[in-house]
Structure formats: structure tokens, C-alpha cells
């Protein structure tokens, strides 16, 4: 019996559960003298689709006692295996290395501490003064390495190296030429997502060797994702599931980690018809029809992290009993008091309509409709593309009174709802806090949200839907203004 809640999210380190016939593994003969052959072979097996990069890295590193280039910069997209390959090489071949994640190093002292303790033990790291400078680090390193010189190349691996740009300005150039400064057989490997041109300091520095880890192609992604198939089902079924998943998600996301997470979360739903007995393993079309809307919904919720994975799994369990498809959205859960909804709608209209048009839209008798150009030249592209404009409180209240369907007295409860909206960050206050007589606000929600809440308000506010829509149209097509005017004036006369 296969239950969804017991499926754990697997850690990133990919382990082979069983070799499958589907995957043709390349027989790579890694020629690298100085390292044991069988270790190299097992290493190559653990790094699928990365055999070329492994071979090049080993060629660059050379034999353990030879010198290697002082600094290497490895770049590539997220989840392309950069850290995994480098750290696997270091661990399996048992090379002396210090692996530091630059996100953890809020100060450079932490970096120095980690490097020294990895190479020379914690006693050496304890010799560092309180706030160590780069000078202290280099001096101490020289001292320690003269006591115990390097028989093999030492490697310093700096992950997420883009954070180093925000640390001391001399840290990056100094680490790039560390081999020369400490006169020892040490190589610094930088791993990053961002290209080298963004790292280079103003006056230049020692250029590292650039090495690119290419992204996985679709076929390679299928190959890698097929490796963690569930033992109760055949690998072919899992491979076809992965193909369906990639068909939905590949054009949006090519990140291996995300795809793996989505694959694990949705597999139980995919297997539902098989469990219930409604379909066999070869009925791919039926299984596809079952899973495809589910994956589309996953794209709108779990992929965007609007819903956590636990909530998603819980939903799947609930749906097994009920058969309705519920649309999840974070916005649907916001509950606002009655007048706050009108205030928000009024704020949206105030932000996106120029003030000149208020008369025409909101007054019942606005006189003749003139044929002048509705929007001024500079406003033609502006409204919905440049963002909301600030409006004073008086204008908001004026629009509010004309929009709300019953008579509302200007009591404190109405005004306090405005400040609640500001606290909820649905409105934002523009200008100084202590401007008490005419505060200015801006609407910070989108049209979709306004339409969603206007549907919750009672039916006669349909006209507001139309108004909101008309604002969308007007900013794009100006020539239809006359018909627009007649439509709006007809609404008011209703």
C-alpha cells in the first residue's frame, strides 16, 4: 500500500537505488594517474551526465603532488551540479580541502577561521586574533605551512562566491593569488551562478581559470530524474511520468531541484488511477488526463510557494474523498469588512484614473460630453504601466461616497479602516508620517485582486467591474472613447 504522506523529500545527494536498463551509462575511462582507478570509476557513476566536466576538472587538478592553477572560477546555472561534483571529488579522492559557503561568512574572520581549522586543525585557528585582517591570515598561514608543508595540493572551495563582492574589497583579489602570497601549493576554487565579468574589481586582478558547467538538456533531466523511481512501480512508468511532468514544467523552469521536488510531491496523485484499478500501467493517455490539470494547479500554487508542500499533500489526501477541484490562492483568503472593500476599490480608482476624469465618471449629472482628446499625450502609455499615482484623502472620500450604495456618515470607524488598510499594506502612505491635514495614499494591489473582492461585494456593484475594466481598455485604445462614454453614462442612468 502506497501512501503519500510517508514519501520523504529526498536530500540532494543522489544515490543509486538500483541500476536500470533504461539508462545507458557511458563507460568513461578516466585517465588520471595518481588516483586509484576504482575510486574514479565509482565517482563517475555517482555523477550522471557530468562525466566531461569531471574529466576536465581532474585534468586541471593533475596529480596530487603537482601544482595547479592558483584560482579556478566555476560558473553555471543553479542545480547544475557544481558543488556536488567538486565536493564529491574532494571527498572521494580524500584531498585536503576547506569548503566554505560565503553566505555563512558575515565577516571575513569566519572564512579565515574555517580555512585554517580545515587545513591545520583548530589550534591553528585559535591563534587568529579577535578581528583578524587578511594580513594576519596570510601571516599565520605562512607560519603553519612552513611547519607542515603541503605534500598534496590544498583546495579552498568557496561556494556562492558572489557574496564575496560585498565583503572587504581586497579579499577577492587576495584570495585569487593566494598561492603566490603564501608560497604554498594551494588552489582556490570559486563556485557561482553569476558570470565573471561582474566580479572583476576596478583595477583588475589575477584572472582565474574560467570553467563552465553547462545546463542539463531535457533528455539528461529525464535520465537523472528517473533515478529516484519508487520501487513498487516499474522504471518505465516513472520515466513516462517524468516526461509528462517536463511537458508541463520544462518551458517554465529547468532547475533540477524544483523539478525533483515537484516530481516527488505529485507522484502519488499520478498513481491514484492505478491504485483504484481504473487504469493499467500502459494506459498513458488516461493517466495523463488525470494528472495534467493537477500539475497545472501545482504550477500556480506549490511552484510559486503560495502553498507549502505539507498543505499540498494534505489537500491531495482530502481530494481523494471529495472529487471537486478547489482553486487555491492566497488572495482568496483575505477577509475585509464591508466598507473596507469599497474603500479599497475607491483607492484603486483614485490611483489609476487621472483626477480630471472623476467628474465624468462619478457625478450623476456631468453635463455635455466633449469630444476632446480623452487622455493627454503623455498619459497615453502611463496609467497601468507606470504604477499607481498618489492621491489625497479628500479625493478618496469623494470617490468612496459616490461608489458606496448606501448613505455613510463620516465617522471615525470609516476613517480608521483606512489606517487598517495601510497596516495591511493594501494601501501605502506616500510622503511624511506627520503630515496630518492632507495625507496622501497610493493603492498597492493589482486589478485581479480588486476584481476578486468586488465580486464578493453585493451585486449592484457590477458597474464597478465595468468601470475597472473600462480603465484597462482606455489606457490601451484611446479611439473608442466615445462609445466608452456612452456606455458609462448609460450605467449611471440605471
Amino acid at each position: 500500500m502506497f501512501s503519500s504522506s510517508s514519501l520523504p523529500i529526498q536530500p540532494l545527494c543522489i544515490r543509486i537505488i538500483q541500476p536500470s536498463n533504461l539508462i545507458k551509462r557511458m563507460s568513461v575511462t578516466l585517465q588520471c594517474p595518481g588516483y586509484p582507478e576504482d575510486t574514479l570509476r565509482s565517482l563517475a557513476e555517482r555523477l550522471p551526465c557530468r562525466e566531461t566536466q569531471l574529466a576536465t576538472l581532474l585534468a586541471l587538478m593533475g596529480q596530487p603532488d603537482q601544482y595547479s592553477y592558483p584560482s579556478v572560477f566555476i560558473y553555471g546555472h543553479r542545480a547544475t551540479g557544481k558543488s556536488h561534483v567538486v565536493l564529491s571529488i574532494m571527498k572521494d579522492l580524500e584531498l585536503p580541502h576547506a569548503s566554505v559557503d560565503c553566505v555563512e561568512c558575515v565577516s571575513s574572520g569566519l572564512l579565515f577561521h574555517q580555512v585554517l581549522s580545515a587545513f591545520f586543525g583548530p589550534d591553528a585557528a585559535a591563534l587568529l586574533p579577535r578581528c583578524p585582517s587578511l594580513s594576519d591570515f596570510v601571516r599565520l598561514y605562512k607560519q603553519m605551512s612552513s611547519n607542515s608543508p603541503a605534500t598534496q595540493t590544498r583546495y579552498i572551495i568557496l561556494d556562492r562566491a558572489e557574496r564575496m563582492r560585498d565583503m572587504d574589497f581586497s579579499l577577492l583579489p587576495a584570495l585569487l593569488r593566494l598561492q603566490e602570497l603564501v608560497n604554498d601549493n594551494v588552489t582556490v576554487i570559486l563556485l557561482s551562478e553569476i558570470v565573471w565579468e561582474k566580479f572583476r574589481p576596478n583595477t583588475g586582478c589575477f584572472e582565474p581559470l574560467l570553467f563552465h558547467f553547462p545546463d542539463y538538456s531535457k533528455a539528461e533531466l529525464v535520465q537523472i530524474l528517473s533515478w529516484d523511481h519508487h520501487p513498487s512501480y516499474t522504471p518505465e512508468l516513472y520515466a513516462s511520468y517524468i516526461n509528462i511532468l517536463l511537458g508541463v514544467f520544462f518551458s517554465v523552469c529547468r532547475d533540477l531541484r524544483e523539478l525533483r521536488h515537484l516530481a516527488v510531491l505529485n507522484f502519488s496523485k499520478f498513481c491514484e488511477p492505478l491504485e483504484k484499478g481504473e487504469a493499467k500501467e500502459s494506459d498513458i493517455h488516461k493517466l495523463w488526463k488525470n494528472i495534467e490539470p493537477h500539475l497545472q494547479r501545482a504550477m500556480q500554487t506549490v511552484y510559486l510557494r503560495e502553498v507549502s508542500s505539507v498543505q499540498w499533500e494534505q489537500q491531495q489526501m482530502d481530494e481523494k474523498e471529495a472529487t471537486t477541484l478547489r482553486v487555491l490562492s492566497a488572495h482568496a483568503h483575505i477577509e475585509l469588512p464591508y466598507y473596507s472593500k469599497f474603500l479599497l476599490i475607491a483607492a484603486y480608482l483614485a490611483s489609476f484614473n487621472p483626477a480630471r476624469t472623476d467628474r465624468r465618471f462619478f457625478l450623476k449629472s456631468h453635463g455635455k460630453i466633449r469630444k476632446t482628446n480623452f487622455l493627454k499625450k503623455h498619459e497615453k502609455t502611463s496609467n497601468h504601466l507606470l504604477g499607481p499615482k498618489p492621491f489625497p484623502l479628500d479625493r478618496l472620500m469623494a470617490i468612496f461616497y459616490s461608489v458606496v450604495d448606501s448613505r455613510v456618515a463620516p465617522t471615525a470607524s470609516v476613517f480608521s479602516q483606512i489606517s487598517s488598510l495601510v497596516t495591511l499594506q493594501l494601501l501605502s502612505q506616500v510622503g511624511h508620517d506627520d503630515q496630518l491635514d492632507s495625507p496622501k495614499y497610493k493603492c498597492s494591489v493589482s486589478l485581479d485582486f480588486i476584481l476578486a473582492i468586488s465580486r464578493c461585494v453585493c451585486v449592484c456593484v457590477r458597474l464597478l467591474d465595468l468601470l475597472a475594466l473600462s480603465l484597462v481598455i482606455q489606457s490601451q485604445v484611446v479611439r473608442q472613447e466615445r462609445s466608452l462614454f456612452t456606455a458609462v453614462s448609460n450605467l449611471h442612468l440605471l
Binding site: G34, V138, Q179, L210, P214, V252, L304, L385, L386, G387
Partner: protein, 421 residues
């Protein structure tokens, strides 16, 4: 007669790699730097005058990165220390602008390297003012005849000029101008305008002696220099192997390389080619050098564009169109989304409509890759969708990336090529 056991091919290759790697990476000093004879003689003469005759001097060695400044200095110092009179006398203090980022740290380092009395073990006692006074006192007490000459080497000299008040530079150059301990101040820098960084009082104490290192080699000299770097020494244990190695022909491939290397002493290409040598491939070929230069000259941004998803690529094309239409003015996410929607509605067959949050997530991925940057980084009082951004790619890069993109749908390509979207 000693019988030499002939080494196997693998051992030869391994030994050759070891030698060359040490020469290229560890940058062992050559016997004599190539094509820098006049500069070498000049510098050696200056230092000899300080060391032997007790004359104070200051000189700046200026040259672009990779032109051999540190190497030149290393060779000169090595020869200087081999002179009998200098060997026992000269004190050497080496400072680096990257490491000694502050005058305090620099002063402590000088005191430590000179082994003055306020150093115990490794720790330097006293405050900055006390250390400075002590050092100057120690330096001032001497004179030409009785005290030992000191050579100060300041690497990354331009960084010292950014310290507060340029105290260290002022004091060192002051000592070098007055008749006290013979002192030689050598600065190495890559900036040609380094003198403008100095304050007036510091500049006037400097002797304005500059040694420039610009590589002015003809192609034949360049080829000779590279061959010298890559050839195995005559005492290599297997003479047949070293003969085959030294006579392998790769001269033709050096012509494109010579165009964009700063100097012959920047050995990335050579290192890459050497690393490809293995047992199956035991001499250096032209293909190795060409492959190395191809790897080095690759455009990394275009390579990164290869790994983007289709949605992200469409966003980049939309931004490119906005740039073309509005002449490079900054845009925001709302405008990009608008362009993308227009494409979906009118021209696209293969890409279906994505929800706005999904498009926003793709846009944020581009932000994280720094292909798009906000105009005013930091202050964001504006909502995320309306914050103004700029595209960090050029028209040509985008088009080139499109050509290489795997399985790019034709309607996307046509959209990119159309002049008015």
C-alpha cells in the same frame, strides 16, 4: 658508466607535467626575464647603489597586469642578494596593498619584518603613534656609513595611496629624501596614473623615477618566448621524449593567441594546453592551444542564456524590444509583461498563456542572475512590479544566444527578429 633505467611513457608525461606546472603556476623565476633587459639593468643599478654605496632611492615600476613586474623584481633581488656586500647588510621589507589595507596594519608588519625591539614572538606592542615614532627613530638614528640599508617593496602601490592621509607613504618617502638610513622604496603598480593619486607633499618627496614595462615584442620574439616557457630543460631524464616534446610544432596556432595576451607571462593558455597532455596524447599539438584559446575567449553571458527556460527567454526578447523602441530607457516588469502578453495573443502558437505570478517568478530568476538590474539599487519604495530596471545584455548577445538556443520555437525566433513587435 651509469646505466639509466629508461622511464615509461607515463612517468615521462608525469614528470613533464610536474615541471611545467611548477614553472607556469608557481611562477618560478626564470634566469633572466625576456625582453626586459634595459629595465633589469636600471633597477639593478639603483638597488646596488642603495645596498653598496648607501644612496637612498625611490622608484615606481609601472606596467599592466601580467607584464612581469613582480617577476622582474624577484630576479633583481635574487641577483642583488648574491652580491657579497649586499648579502649581509640589506634588510628587506615586503608589503602588499591587498593585505595591508590600513596604515596601522602596515606599520605592524614593517616592525615585525625588521625585528625591532617592540616585537616579541609575533605580537607587536604599542599603539600606532608609538610604533611610528619608534620606527622613525630607528631609521633616523642611522647614517650612510654605519647603518644597514633597508629596501621597502610596496606591491599594489596604488592601494597605499588610498590610506588615510597617506601617512605611511609620506614617512617612507621622507626618510628616503633626508640623509638618514639608506632606504630604497620600490612601488609596483598597474595604474599608469598613479602619480595623480599621491598628495602634493608626498609627490614632491618622490623622485619621479618610473620604470615602464610594456611588452614590445615582435611576433618572432613572442614565439621564442612561448617556446622557452614550454620547453623541457636539457637535464630531463629521457632525452628522446624531451626532444619530441621540444620539437612539436604549434607555431601556427600562436598567431591568434598573440593578439589578446597581455604579455607572455600570463600563462593561462599554456596551462590549459599542458593540462590536456596525458598518456594517450603525449605531446603538445596546435589543437590544444587553439582549444585553450577558444575556452578563454568564450562569451560567458551568451553561455548563461543557453540555460534559460523558454519563458525567461521570451522575457528577455520582450525587454530587447522595449529597449529598441524606447532607445534604452529603463522599463519595469509591468511593461515587459505587457509586451509578452501582446506576443502571446497575436503571434504565438507554441507558448500558452502563463499566469502573472509565474511570469513574475521567471523575471525574478533573471534578477538573481543579474541579467537585469534595478536602476536605483537599494531604495525600493515602489512595488516590485513597478520598479525600474535595465537589461544588462546587448542586442548582439541576445541574437547570438537565440541562434544557439536548443529547440527554440520558430515563432519566438521570428518575434525576436521582427523590427516592430
Amino acid at each position: 658508466m651509469s646505466k639509466r633505467r629508461s622511464l615509461t611513457e607515463a612517468q615521462c608525461v608525469s614528470l613533464a607535467q610536474k615541471l611545467l606546472r611548477e614553472r607556469l603556476c608557481h611562477q618560478k623565476l626564470p634566469d633572466r626575464p625576456l625582453a626586459l633587459d634595459s629595465q633589469y639593468k636600471h633597477l639593478l643599478e639603483l638597488l646596488r647603489r642603495t645596498a653598496v654605496h648607501g644612496e637612498s632611492n625611490s622608484v615606481l615600476i609601472v606596467g599592466p597586469r601580467g607584464s612581469g613586474k613582480t617577476m622582474l623584481l624577484g630576479c633583481v633581488l635574487r641577483e642583488l642578494m648574491s652580491l657579497k656586500e649586499a648579502q649581509k647588510n640589506v634588510l628587506l621589507v615586503e608589503l602588499n596593498g591587498l593585505l595591508q589595507t590600513d596604515d596601522k596594519i602596515a606599520l605592524k608588519e614593517i616592525t615585525r619584518q625588521l625585528h625591532l625591539e617592540n616585537v616579541v614572538g609575533d605580537k607587536v606592542f604599542g599603539s600606532f603613534a608609538e610604533n611610528l615614532a619608534f620606527l622613525l627613530e630607528a631609521l633616523k638614528k642611522g647614517d650612510k656609513s654605519s647603518s644597514r640599508p633597508v629596501v621597502f617593496v610596496l606591491d599594489e602601490f596604488d592601494l597605499f595611496a588610498h590610506h588615510k592621509n597617506q601617512t605611511l607613504l609620506y614617512n617612507l618617502l621622507d626618510v628616503s629624501q633626508s640623509a638618514q638610513t639608506p632606504v630604497a622604496v620600490l612601488g609596483l603598480t598597474c595604474r599608469l596614473d598613479v602619480l595623480e593619486l599621491l598628495e602634493k607633499r608626498v609627490k614632491s618627496r618622490f623622485s619621479h623615477r618610473q620604470i615602464h614595462l610594456f611588452s614590445s615584442l615582435s611576433f618572432a620574439q613572442y614565439v621564442d618566448a612561448v617556446r622557452a616557457q614550454l620547453s623541457l630543460p636539457p637535464d630531463f631524464p629521457d632525452p628522446k621524449f624531451s626532444d619530441a616534446w621540444n620539437h612539436s610544432s604549434y607555431t601556427q596556432s600562436l598567431f591568434p593567441l598573440s593578439a589578446f595576451t597581455a604579455g607572455i607571462f600570463k600563462p593561462i593558455h599554456l596551462f590549459l594546453s599542458v593540462s590536456r597532455v596525458s598518456v594517450s596524447h603525449s605531446t603538445l599539438h596546435e589543437a590544444d592551444l587553439l582549444e585553450a584559446s577558444r575556452l578563454i575567449s568564450a562569451d560567458s553571458k551568451a553561455i548563461i542564456l543557453h540555460g534559460l527556460s523558454i519563458l525567461e527567454l521570451c522575457l528577455i526578447i520582450a525587454m530587447k524590444h522595449l529597449n529598441d523602441t524606447y532607445d534604452g530607457e529603463p522599463f519595469n516588469f509591468q511593461m515587459v509583461h505587457n509586451e509578452f502578453k501582446k506576443f502571446i495573443q497575436r503571434k504565438s502558437h507554441s507558448i500558452h498563456k502563463f499566469e502573472k505570478p509565474v511570469v513574475m517568478k521567471a523575471f525574478e530568476h533573471l534578477l538573481q542572475l543579474e541579467l537585469v538590474r534595478p536602476v536605483d539599487s537599494g531604495v525600493c519604495k515602489v512595488q516590485r512590479e513597478y520598479q525600474l530596471m535595465r537589461l544588462m545584455l546587448e542586442h548582439g548577445q541576445v541574437m547570438e544566444a537565440l541562434q544557439r538556443y536548443p529547440q527554440c520555437p520558430t515563432d519566438v525566433k521570428q518575434w525576436a527578429l521582427s523590427a516592430f513587435a
